[in-house]
């Protein structure tokens, strides 16, 4: 027991060291850029996994990311607000809007909720490019979104933003870890597994669902802000349902059973896969679709859900040994 804990600790330390030193040994700024994006996707994935824990999967996660992105961009470019304040406010905006759909939609079953969330996301992403195009930039979006700064120091270099995102990602994962370990997290899991049973035990499903949804969307909003300031721009096409789909895929392929390890593994693997598939040129999306098809068909429980068992012939041999001993 002690050794497994120690092994885990060592593994964490090694990974941690690799992450912290990454800008040092990364062979090009491109890889720094890619991994920074990966961290954003991890934030999206674990926050989606949180709100999906109760069984209500959202197809609007990217739209909430968009809400955060636009809010943060507007606050920093139009209202002179500092990034460090705009970031949490962006999350809060996304969280508040999420209640507008989360609350009316609590009683919706899985398939219905997905459709409702899709519709909601579609509505949100129709609104942004079509109102106040003088400020919001219409379909071209907003530009000139500033990088954050502390005093004189601006987070301009790829490495600086990488560290910012590393901290943000670790913070998010830590918060998620605490949430899922808490009583709140246990209740979420109970609701997700059998909501009727949870209700019969007296759990107010509505409140937990809305809260989980709001928290999940809060982090999506912050991810949006981080993304916008990373790109120094807000493009409405970056927050469409395809992105929501990709995040859903991270979570499913990673494994629905584990709300933190699953999404992280899924995001890491699939995001890297996309980078690799980029080399296939026009066949990139086809490759992705095929991989996804195969994975969903043969590993529907995802990677963390795989049951790896010893091959049969080994098992029998062991049995024979036992018999021989007696």
């Amino acid at each position: 027991m002690v050794s497994t804990n120690r092994n885990k600790l060592i593994a964490c330390a090694v990974v941690g060291l690799l992450m912290v030193l990454f800008p040092v040994y990364a062979s090009s700024p491109y890889y720094l850029y890619v991994v920074t994006l990966l961290y954003i996707n991890v934030i999206l994935a674990v926050s989606l996994a949180l709100l999906g824990r109760t069984g209500q999967w959202s197809f609007a996660h990217a739209a909430f990311m968009g809400i955060g992105a636009y809010s943060s961009a507007l606050l920093t470019t139009q209202a002179g607000v500092s990034f460090w304040l705009a970031l949490p406010i962006a999350g809060v905006m996304a969280g508040i809007v999420s209640i507008a759909i989360g609350y009316p939609a609590i009683r919706l079953k899985g398939t219905q909720f997905i459709l409702a969330s899709f519709a909601f996301g579609a509505i949100v992403m129709q609104i942004f490019p079509n109102i106040r195009t003088d400020i919001l930039g219409g379909f071209s979006g907003m530009i000139g979104v500033p990088r954050p700064s502390i005093g004189r120091f601006e987070f301009n270099s790829p490495a600086s933003y990488y560290y910012l995102l590393l901290v943000a990602m670790l913070f998010t994962v830590f918060v998620m870890h605490r949430i899922h370990r808490s009583r709140f997290g246990m209740v979420l899991r109970a609701i997700g597994e059998k909501d009727s049973l949870a209700e019969s035990v007296g759990i107010n499903i509505a409140r937990y669902r809305v809260l989980a949804f709001a928290i999940g969307c809060f982090f999506a909003g912050m991810a949006g802000s981080l993304f916008a300031h990373f790109n120094r721009s807000v493009l409405p096409t970056d927050y469409l349902y395809m992105v929501s789909f990709y995040v859903l895929v991270y979570v499913v392929v990673g494994g629905l059973g584990t709300p933190i390890a699953g999404p992280i593994i899924g995001a890491a693997l699939l995001f890297s896969l996309v980078q690799f598939l980029g080399k296939l040129g026009p066949y990139e999306v086809l490759g992705y679709g095929l991989v996804l098809l195969v994975v969903m068909r043969f590993m529907p429980r995802g990677i963390t859900g795989l049951r790896i068992s010893r091959p049969r012939f080994l098992k029998e041999k062991q049995g024979a040994k036992v018999h021989a001993a007696t």
Partner: protein, 289 residues
């Protein structure tokens, strides 16, 4: 344009839109209402129907009727294979089926693009010409599409209500275990039902190909609209599809022209959310579960 002319024109366009959505939704309603599978890839089934129309009718000059039948058979069989390979193992797990249907979208769209080319292709209308009425001109092919969608809707209604396969499917949708106790082969009926749904989707594609165009991505926009009208009308209800289709078609036609396309989209999705939240069974759906 005088107001009555405009109104008539918008009304007609709404009918055409309604027919398109209804045609696409007919196959989808079988699959979603009865087999409870969210198959987002139905739009690609529709697209493949159009593709068959292009190759058989447009290129090889096969008769339109024969093309229609061929598309239904070919794509229907593809549907059988899809259900057997991908959806049956995931039965009961809607979320995983949803993801796999999205993967199917990617594969179908992209392989079509690779094999058939991504440039939009046009199919000449088998029913050219116009008709004059109420002082306006109406294209004959659109009138025929409206007529055929009504006919197919009626046929679908009786299929679901009276035919053995339709009844078996309804039994499965209510209670698969009880259905199998009654002698229904749940596996086969599910596969067949899915195949029929895809055949209908392909038929829609053939009918719409001359009016729209054929390219790998033509079907993507219609799937969501089809889900909207199924939700509006009521999951499981064929008359509901008619009502939902008319509602959405007319709303989009008027809002799209008088306001903007964005407004029309917002209203369309807004209606779906309102129905889901306040009357989840839809306007004509039965309250069950």
């Amino acid at each position: 344009m005088a107001t009555e002319e405009l109104a008539t024109r918008l009304l007609f366009n709404g009918l055409v839109l309604a027919s398109v959505y209804i045609l696409v939704a007919m196959g989808l309603t079988l699959v979603y209402s009865i087999l409870h599978i969210v198959n987002f890839a139905h739009g690609e089934i529709f697209m493949l129907g159009g593709l068959v129309a292009y190759y058989l009718f447009e290129q090889l000059h096969v008769s339109y009727l024969l093309t229609l039948i061929a598309a239904m058979v070919l794509v229907g069989c593809l549907g059988l294979i899809m259900e057997r390979l991908f959806f049956r193992p995931l039965r009961g797990r809607f979320f995983e089926s949803l993801i796999i249907s999205l993967a199917l979208i990617m594969v179908l769209q992209q392989s079509t693009g690779v094999l058939a080319g991504a440039k939009p292709k046009s199919v000449t209308s088998p029913f050219p010409g116009i008709v004059q009425a109420f002082g306006l001109t109406f294209p004959i092919d659109k009138l025929i599409v409206i007529a055929i969608s009504i006919i197919l809707l009626i046929a679908l209604y009786f299929f679901v209500k009276r035919s053995r396969l339709g009844q078996a499917m309804r039994a499965i949708s209510l209670d698969p275990e009880a259905a199998s106790l009654q002698g229904v082969n749940v596996d086969n009926v599910s596969t067949l039902g899915f195949g029929v749904g895809c055949a209908l989707g392909a038929a829609a594609g053939v009918l719409m190909a001359p009016i729209l165009y054929v390219d790998p991505f033509v079907g993507a926009g219609y799937v969501m609209k089809a889900f909207i009208i199924i939700v509006l009308g009521g999951v499981g209800s064929v008359p509901g599809v008619l009502l939902g289709g008319l509602l959405l078609g007319e709303v989009e036609s008027f809002a799209g022209t008088l306001a903007s396309v964005a407004v029309a989209q917002i209203i369309a999705f807004g209606m779906m959310i309102l129905v889901l939240v306040f009357r989840p069974r839809g306007l004509l759906g039965r309250a069950h579960q």
